[in-house]
Symmetry: C2
Amino acid sequence: MVYLVSYDIEEDRKRKRVADRLLADGLIRVQYSVFIGPLKSHLHEKLLTWLSQLLDKPEKDRLIIMNMRAEDIEKMHILGEVEWEPEMLSGKQHTLFL
Amino acid sequence: MVYLVSYDIEEDRKRKRVADRLLADGLIRVQYSVFIGPLKSHLHEKLLTWLSQLLDKPEKDRLIIMNMRAEDIEKMHILGEVEWEPEMLSGKQHTLFL
């Protein structure tokens, strides 16, 4: 299953911990605070538990996680220069050619 | 069709113009730089044209627009306090009860 994770987290250190974890789990940073990528279901569960414990200030830590469809991701409109391609986000293409 | 729009835009004034336009088009701000909501297809086309003209610095203005499925939005996980409900994002519920 492919997921989109997006957050507004006030504290720099906490925000960096979340970003590092999402990247380590294999998601790709598509914007400063938005990540997309495939997650196996056990990883998704572990991530949710870890996030729920870390993000303990509900008025300062806001995060959403959503299922995405690979076909919707691959048809996305992109404005500006990015270092990824939609196919990478759905796990279909692993190598980036620059 | 329901869309997610997310951006990283360096210039404050330009960023505010985009946020104001997305809100005026009826999208809901779900994070500081992420908006979700239904858009009729002619509004979607007009928005894309407007954005393409405004965001003219590809290394400083990055924006993505994606189709979303109402059922995926309604099942999203939310951590933290937010002033909207998933049903509002897919256009199914227009009134916010606080």
